[in-house]
Amino acid sequence: MTFGAIRRSVSTGVLSYRHQPCRRTFSARAIRDFDVIIVGGGPVGLALASGLGSYRMVRESLKVALVEAGDLSRTRDWTLPPDSYSNRVSSITNSSRVFLEDIGVWELVDKSCTCPVKEMQVWDGLSDARITFDAVNLPSSGVSNAAESSEMARLTENLNLQRALLRHLESIRSIELLQKTRVESIQREDRDGGHGWPLVHLSDGTTLRARLLVGADGFNSPVRAYAGIHSYGWSYDVRAVVATLNHSPRGAFQGPNHTAYQRFLPTGPIAFLPLSPTVSSLVWSTKPALAEALCRADPSVLAHMVNAAFRLPEVSVRYLHNLILDAHSRGTSISGEDICNEIAFREKSHNIPGYSAYSSVSSMLSPGVPSNDAMAVPPLVTSTQSGTIASFPLKFNHAESYLGEGANNRTVLVGDAAHTIHPLAGQGLNLGLGDVRSLVQCIVRSVAHGGDIGSYTSLRPYAAERYFTNHKVMSAVDKLHKLYSSTWDPVVWARSIGLEVVNELDSVKAALMMDAGAGNLERPQWDLLADGIKGVSSGLSTAKMLGQGIGVVFNTGINEIARRLGQH
């Protein structure tokens, strides 16, 4: 086939090969050539298209297509009445925001629907050891605007970001959006010398040929399967329940609703993320059975349970969970009123005074002078917004490589197709945007040097830059999850020490904050975070040293901790 394109010029007596448009021998339908085909129109895939489109050199020289099965025009025109929020919310770190500003997308995000996080309160569900993070402790974040640099992160609905990305893409004509189109199959073009490129067959019958095929197609990535990239990981025995919560505004003597709260219950962390003075978002990771029961129960039950989960001692939270689980397994359900009474009873038995912020009746009664622990817990939830309660399974998953191996594979993975992470640190989307920034730079550099952007040589710097960085974040978050899911006393005790030790060290604290949102453009924060995790485990080694003094029995217990933690 290829030799058909070769001419011998006899006159000069030397062999001469001249390139001509190849006659392709594939089925009658024409194949369209693209330099970049992005599979998946989620925030990461759209950000990649936007990022590429923001460079003049790329706009002029690369043909880019994005394939998405869903209806993108609905996302572009998405709108909600004021004070209504969708349930999938991400905390955009400062470094992610700087990237979005650079490519011209951040200005298209509806800022009135985003909310800055200026403080975080994280505490252990069992020992109540608590850390408070304040944006003041942050290392400089590279954000030019002084007001914005005092933020740790910006909570943004995923749809708000996606809409901004789609509006940005509208202005870039060289990028083709193929929406409501599924990828039917991907195969390698058959060519002499193994130089075939990936062929993407679409549900509308067309076939695209990719110089570079990008998998932004999520956890079950078909592109990853085509590239033959294995991934390793596990499902946590946990589901995340999400919902949009309504609550009363903070009183005049309290701070604004700029504080994110997270309590590490043994069943998983529950997080309260502010969206507006009266609306916040819930991400509650818990056992699958309870998640199901909560989603099926009356919406008022979830509201009461959220209040209780942030306030009551763990023993009572567990009791309430069992109550709901029992009712669910019997096929009946508990009314919101019953739960409310049960909570009131348990508050009394725990001697929680009515004026304390920990009481579920107090804040509603007295809008005047707040109690001194008022900012220790989130505002009381009054209701959930209709249709926002949902749940999804949680996984840990990391591809063994981000680039397809073997000659001429021409595939690369970004975002969830490459890595899936526990949401407790709110890093999933930020890792994806970090991938995008790195890949865009890599492609731009290759274009500037006349490289073949699909080649392994061109893409190698992307994998080298991202793989280990992502891996460190993922393992740190995974270890945090495992450390805090234990109810086993020595572990609880050790981690309470760990947390209080951490609380003393401002630098480690600043590093831990990276975990939940803030971020510098540079890398060292995660190294610091890794040290923070080590800080927790050095709490363990202190415990171990003490244990050796106390006696053999205790010592074996501590060794058990070390062994169990070592397994994770």
Binding site: T2, A5, L15, R18, G193, R209, A407, G450, D452, S455
Partner: protein
Amino acid sequence: MFTTGVRRVSRLTQRTRFIQTDATTSTVNTAEIAHFSRLSSQWWDESGEFALLHRMNPVRVQYIREKLTEIAREEKGEDVGREIEQRRGAFRGMSMLDVGCGGGLLSESLARLGARTLGIDASESNIRIASLHADADPFLSSPSSTGGSLQYRNTSAEHLLKEPERFDVVCSMEVIEHVDNPAVFLATCAELVKPGGHLFLSTIARTPLAFLLTIAAAEYIMRKVAIGTHTYSKFVNPSELVSFFQTYSSPSMTSAQPWITRTYDGGQPTRKEAEVRGLIYNPWSGDWVLMSRSASQWGAAECNYLFWVRRPLAG
């Protein structure tokens, strides 16, 4: 392996290799051609025999691009320079010749950046592999809007010289250390450059360090490069290239001036006439790094280096 090693070591004592013009017209070494023909199927295996070359390629193109932009900026002004930096097709409107193109690593990049590119190689199988590979790329196999085009021919520089066409840029990367008669080869490449055009070369200096890295380590110890790829005595020092162009002037011109008219202390040419830049491989990151002008003067060009020289408008 050991005996060849010893033989090569004994040649370390041979300190200078004068580049002299002599009557022989062919510079093509048949043994070298056979060696690369054997390896030709490997050209596009990016993790195989030529992995190091694949990684070196972006740096070579980066250098060509930077140098041409620098000269354009100097002669045509800042605005033109900036435009070339940002637009696609930095080499638009230029004709370029890649002598000893091999599998076409450099030729493809030049064509993508908009140059009308001709790649030539004395090995027929190299040309076949290069053509086959470029055919798979629709950008290279069909006329492109950047004006770039790519053509391969199985011929030698000497044959090409008999034809009338001359080029804005002539590149010959990692070739001169494989030819038989480097002076004739240099003169041939030089003659193929249009007046005011550019000649880019890359090769390896003849130093003990280069012997250790490119032959002992790369070929025998790490086995990253096929044994027998390099011959120490054929390596060329930067100072030899500089002194060649200090005396060289084009025979086709009547009032010819040499390409390099003056040098600074230490034999450095002026920035507008010629340049030597070291290329250093970092085995930890697996990347090649282009050294600065000043570093190249102080030993960074002891091993791999790039050489650029400009043909004077009247010379």
